[in-house]
């Protein structure tokens, strides 16, 4: 992990952040967690009082803000082709360390290599990231297994550390500082802020699970035909919950919607778990059964991506484990790969 060198930026302690939220929400540019259907979700917020920072992980990751489920790439009619306006400024408040750590992984896919995605990069560019250190882990969390921690806030413009009696707010970039410019709250000595930050960084998730990742990528090299995949995949429903809730999954499909002489090309999420993901013209499907598809998902996250970018394509947020209706748990797959237990 390349710990970002944190200069001595401005830090304040805020007892009541409601006025701050009012100001942010007024501009209509605030995306923050709100309570929704028994859980929480990142929504564009109009009234500040809806914002909830005491949230445990949202069902759907904030990935959608940068890599939307449906995005019109361009539309056309008899007059010609029109590319939609790039997204405006916006503030993402409440991004947790695990989701924050997922962004650099997406940046690799959409930002590096021969094809740079203008829409994604523009949205990343114009979004001020206000992270919140994680004080609400769940049983399914295992971010620490990937070298992350509740205090991992690298890449955020600003960070809120939940502290007794309120939040310690700390800017990490100019954008963060600019945003914090008119925030009230008494200044805090940089040393004290760093102490709080360090405390979060070293905190073991109280209920979290430790998974040893050593050698997993290498082990998978030889396990393509291992019988375990059959049994792991047996329970899979081939639905798209794991891939769509995962902050790091980035597969998509292009679809053209035409009506008469006008139409649009839209990029939509796709899931390697869907049988039609690899259906080819003429009906051939290289991954016809669940075994091949489930193996593909874990191989991609724990082997192929690592071979390509030396990083695992997982941040241990636990959403796939929490939402999977049949409990297909990546932690079990990792343990199986290491042969520690045959529990997979």
């Amino acid at each position: 992990m390349n710990a970002l060198a944190v200069e001595e930026r401005k830090a304040v302690r805020l007892a009541d952040i409601r006025p701050v939220l009012e100001r942010l929400a007024a501009g209509g540019k605030l995306v923050a967690p709100v309570a929704e259907a028994g859980g929480f979700a990142f929504r564009r917020v109009g009234q500040a009082e809806k914002v909830r920072l005491d949230f445990y992980n949202t069902a759907e990751s904030p990935k959608d803000l940068f890599f939307p489920q449906s995005e019109v790439l361009f539309s056309y009619d008899a007059a010609g082709i029109a590319v939609p306006e790039p997204a405006g400024e916006q503030v993402l408040l409440g991004i947790r360390p695990c989701d924050l750590a997922a962004l650099p992984l997406l940046d690799r896919v959409f930002g590096e290599g021969p094809f740079r995605d203008p829409g994604y990069l523009a949205r990343r560019e114009r979004t001020v990231l206000v992270a919140v250190a994680c004080d609400r882990p769940r049983a399914s969390c295992f971010c620490t297994s990937f070298g992350l921690s509740p205090g991992h806030v690298a890449g955020a413009d600003m960070v809120l550390y939940p502290d007794e009696g309120g939040y310690l707010v700390r800017a990490q970039t100019e954008a963060g500082e600019a945003l914090m410019a008119e925030w009230p709250g008494e200044a805090v000595a940089p040393g004290e802020a760093e102490a709080v930050a360090a405390r979060y960084r070293s905190m073991e998730t109280p209920l979290g699970r430790r998974i040893r990742l050593e050698g997993v990528a290498e082990a998978l090299d030889g396990m393509f035909d291992h019988p375990m995949w059959e049994q792991i995949a047996a329970r899979c429903l081939s639905c798209g919950i794991c891939t769509y809730t995962c902050p790091t999954c980035h597969c998509f499909q292009l679809t053209d919607e035409a009506k008469g002489e006008a139409g649009k090309r839209v990029r939509c999420w796709d899931s390697c778990m869907f049988p039609e993901f690899t259906r080819m013209a003429g009906g051939h499907n290289p991954r016809p059964d669940k075994k091949a598809r489930v193996r593909q998902r874990f191989m991609h996250k724990l082997n192929y991506f690592v071979r390509r970018w030396e990083e695992y394509l997982c941040v241990g947020c636990g959403r796939c484990v929490e939402s999977c209706p049949v409990g297909l748990d990546i932690a079990y797959v990792i343990e199986a790969v290491q042969g520690v237990t045959a529990r997979a």
Binding site: A37, C239, G327
Partner: protein, 315 residues
């Protein structure tokens, strides 16, 4: 609760070679959410569990083994068995290649309700019409009605009626007929504009993960019309109309065939109240076509037959 019984059954059936694979439940990362588990060897039977949290319906997995030899054993509660009956009525599964291990179901717990009553709940024991929840946060006795899954509160068929063996004594169904779903009535009371807003908001949260379709025993097509390229019944774009089309078609395609097992609602990651759609159609089918308990599959489905004296509203 019945873990010992299911392990014994699995061991016996696999050892005797009566079946080549056994579908049961095994504990997940959190003991209150066991998950489906396929075992093919007798010694793996130890990993099975059968307690008050075994909600997942295993019937539809039989479709995966239609093309593989050997008989498959499967643990089915009453509602799950209706799912199997649905697959049989749709000629998707051959009954002679299935060995049904029936569980006279005492009712399954709603994991979220239990966690709300006792955070960190690990285990639940039934006592009379109460449950004793135990977990990291200590122990708590609660009334069954507070913690059971909604579907179990009105369960009419707790015991599978064509099981090959039963894990325990049959449990009588709830005699009282399923009363009108209050939620449906509440929606019907709204104006159509209010309902439009309600459903638009609900459908806007759908991430089109297809879990509800893939878990549903009534949705057992070999290739779904949603995946058809030509004609493109369903646009891949997740905008308002397409979401509306998805849920309209999903509900209509199982109208008169849904077995009221609530699995779609349970698996939905975004907690969209799908049963409000299915119950509306279920009630209409029962009322319009004068069918008792339309959720019990019949040889020919209600929309596959007609009566000359069906209600006439279109003269």
């Amino acid at each position: 609760m019945r873990s010992e019984a299911v392990r014994a059954a699995a061991r016996r059936l696999l050892e005797e070679g009566k079946v080549v694979r056994f579908l049961g439940h095994a504990p997940g990362f959190d003991p209150t959410s066991p998950f489906p588990q396929l075992i093919t060897r007798a010694e793996e039977a130890e990993r099975l569990v059968l307690d008050h949290f075994c909600a997942p319906n295993l019937a539809k997995y039989l479709l995966d083994y239609e093309t593989q030899e050997g008989v498959t054993a499967v643990v089915l509660k009453g509602c799950d068995a209706l799912g199997l009956a649905r697959l049989l009525a749709d000629h998707r599964v051959a009954r002679d290649r299935v060995w049904v291990v029936g569980l006279p179901c005492p009712g399954m717990l709603d994991r979220d309700k239990a966690a709300a009553l006792l955070p960190g709940v690990q285990e639940a024991r039934a006592e009379g019409d109460e449950f004793v929840l135990t977990g990291a946060g200590g122990e708590r006795r609660v009334a069954a009605g507070q913690v059971l899954l909604d579907r179990c509160l009105v369960c009419a068929v707790p015991t599978p009626d064509d099981a090959d063996e039963l894990l325990g004594e049959p449990v009588p169904g709830r005699p009282v007929p399923r009363e009108e779903d209050a939620a449906v009535a509440a929606l019907e009371a709204m104006t159509s504009a209010e309902r439009k807003a309600y459903w638009t908001e609900q459908f806007s949260r759908c991430i089109r993960c297809m879990a509800c379709r893939n878990v549903c025993p009534a949705c057992n097509c070999r290739s779904c019309c949603f995946d058809s390229e030509e004609p493109r019944w369903l646009s891949r774009v997740t905008d308002g109309p397409a979401q509306e089309m998805f849920h309209f078609v999903r509900a209509l395609h199982v109208a008169g065939r849904c077995v009221d097992c609530h699995e779609c609602e349970r698996v939905c990651p975004m907690d969209i109240p799908l049963m409000k759609l299915n119950h509306k159609l279920l009630q209409d089918v029962e009322e319009l076509f004068e069918l008792e308990r339309a959720f019990v599959p019949r040889e020919v489905e209600p929309l596959g037959i007609y009566r000359p004296d069906d209600p006439e509203e279109f003269a």
